[in-house]
């Protein structure tokens, strides 16, 4: 693979908008267009438009597609109705997380697996190897990374904006559902998913149609206050919503149970799956004697915790580590997700602080998420 960065189909649009670009998993992506705080607030109160074309799409088709996914992933994908989606994970035999995924069931024998940009190759290889290892020749695993551009319109105004561009039945489209439709004359897989804590849609289109769709959404959303949004505010939005990020809350060193996401592991599905034995052990340990738990931290002061900073207890001893931290535009204070010793994980635990470059800044332990939208 070349070291030169990859560019999405919307690259020229971003540059014309004056975006600050950043390298992200080998892609040059918009970090922000103006103020990341304004972009964040736009998504919370109006609408934001994102280019997420760096995400990795893998299509799995054929009579054995469902069986492959049931055995390769921790979820029960063959039980997902056509038109619905599931948040799931792919784990190693040891239970460590290879990636977290959203899987859309597009047809009885067709699934779209969406992986994180940095892990798309890993997931593609794992699915292919597992298919061969299980002896499931009637499950085709196809690399569709170049087949899709992905746009997301997120925020309370997003249903109205999208409705003005499509005849698709958005009212009938539930959260975590997806259906093919036409948006602004463009063939689109319309999914009611996102990573912001708001209502919104993710729109999968052919790369050649991405600019058309971006322009149409920009125009349709102008009166509603829609603004283009970069990866910087995507990170603060997902952090407020308590959503994990691979490489921060999730990694090969953590199991879904370590991250408090054991509910995605479906032990009651039929048959074996990769990681089952290790995950059963992880589930038992998490229930009986968890070493560390993922918690929320809210600052009393204004200094911002960063990933990797130590969390300390009242006596100054290290009790954990920050996995993600940022100033929260919605709360007006710095927040963090952190793995802390179970004895210090209860909301309201006294004396917890984050070591910010040598200074112990007081933090309150809270339950996740920090922010939940009103429905």
């Amino acid at each position: 693979m070349s070291d030169s960065p990859r560019h999405t189909a919307l690259d020229a649009v971003h540059r014309a908008l004056g975006a600050t670009m950043t390298d992200f998993a080998g892609w040059e992506m918009p970090l922000r267009y103006g103020s990341e705080r304004d972009e964040h607030n736009a998504v919370r109160t109006r609408a934001g438009l994102f280019d997420l074309s760096h995400m990795g799409e893998i299509t799995v088709t054929g009579p054995q597609a469902g069986e492959l996914l049931d055995r390769a992933l921790v979820g029960h994908l063959s039980a997902v109705p056509v038109g619905r989606a599931r948040y799931t994970m792919i784990c190693e035999e040891s239970g460590g997380i290879l990636d977290d995924l959203i899987v859309y069931r597009l047809g009885t024998e067709e699934y779209l697996v969406v992986a994180n940009a940095a892990n798309a190759g890993v997931v593609l290889d794992a699915l292919t190897e597992r298919r061969d290892g299980f002896g499931l020749p009637e499950a085709a695993v196809r690399d569709d990374r170049d087949a899709y551009a992905l746009l997301a319109v997120q925020g309370p105004a997003s249903p109205g904006i999208l409705a003005s561009l499509t005849d698709a039945d958005l009212d009938g489209l539930k959260y975590y559902a997806g259906l093919p439709g036409t948006v602004a004359g463009v063939e689109t897989l319309i999914a009611r998913t996102g990573y912001t804590g708001e209502d919104g849609f993710e729109l999968f289109v052919a790369p050649g149609d991405a600019e058309t769709l971006w322009s149409a959404l920009t125009e349709a959303g102008a009166d509603a206050g829609l603004v283009p949004c970069g990866l910087s505010c995507r990170d603060t939005l997902r952090l407020e919503a308590g959503m994990p990020l691979y490489g921060h809350e999730l990694s090969r060193r953590t199991t879904p149970f370590d991250a408090g996401l054991g509910r995605v592991v479906k032990f009651d599905k039929p048959g074996d799956f990769v990681g089952r034995a290790a995950l059963e052990e992880a589930a038992r340990k998490a229930a009986e004697n968890p070493p560390r738990k993922l918690v929320g931290l809210v600052a009393a002061g204004r200094r911002v915790p960063r990933a990797g900073y130590a969390v300390v207890g009242a006596d100054g001893a290290v009790i954990g580590e920050v996995s993600s931290g940022a100033p929260s535009p919605t709360l007006g204070k710095p927040i963090a997700m952190a793995y802390v010793d179970a004895g210090h994980a209860a909301p309201g635990t006294e004396g917890v602080a984050v070591d910010i470059r040598g200074t112990h800044e007081p933090y309150e332990v809270v339950a996740l998420p920090f922010y939940r939208r009103e429905r």
Binding site: E36, T236, R302, R303
Partner: protein, 125 residues
């Protein structure tokens, strides 16, 4: 963006006003503020502190990163901008005006401070 002609600039992206009665005002440039993103916290030296040209004397936190604040000259801090401590966004909205950071009684100026035109060339804008 335009860098005010009457100021001098460091390669660490601080600006320095003309010295009056031995005291100069220091801030960070619009270029630096733009690169940082939204500034959410500033830690400034305290009045009476001695700072050394080219050495860190504070911190600037933005959404995504934390950066050292360097002293462009050596001297003693005579005043810090409490407004910017209370509202760090001033660094972004008015980097050359209300977003100034501190005043310093200059004891030594390094030779490599840049003019506005030299700084503009240095940042490639």
């Amino acid at each position: 963006m335009s860098n005010p002609q009457q100021l001098r600039y460091s390669k660490e992206h601080e600006w320095l006003s003309a010295t009056e009665d031995g005291v100069a005002t220091v801030g960070i440039t619009e270029h630096a503020a733009g690169a940082l993103g939204d500034v959410v916290f500033v830690q400034l030296p305290e009045v009476g502190d001695t700072v050394t040209a080219g050495e860190p004397c504070g911190e600037l936190e933005s959404t995504k990163s934390v950066s050292d604040l360097y002293a462009p000259v050596s001297g003693e801090i005579t005043e810090v901008n409490q407004d910017v401590v209370d509202d760090p966004a001033l660094v972004n909205s008015a980097p050359f005006e209300g977003g100034w950071l501190f005043r310093v009684r200059v004891t030594e100026e390094p030779e490599e401070l840049l003019s506005a035109d030299e700084y503009t060339a240095f940042t490639g804008e």
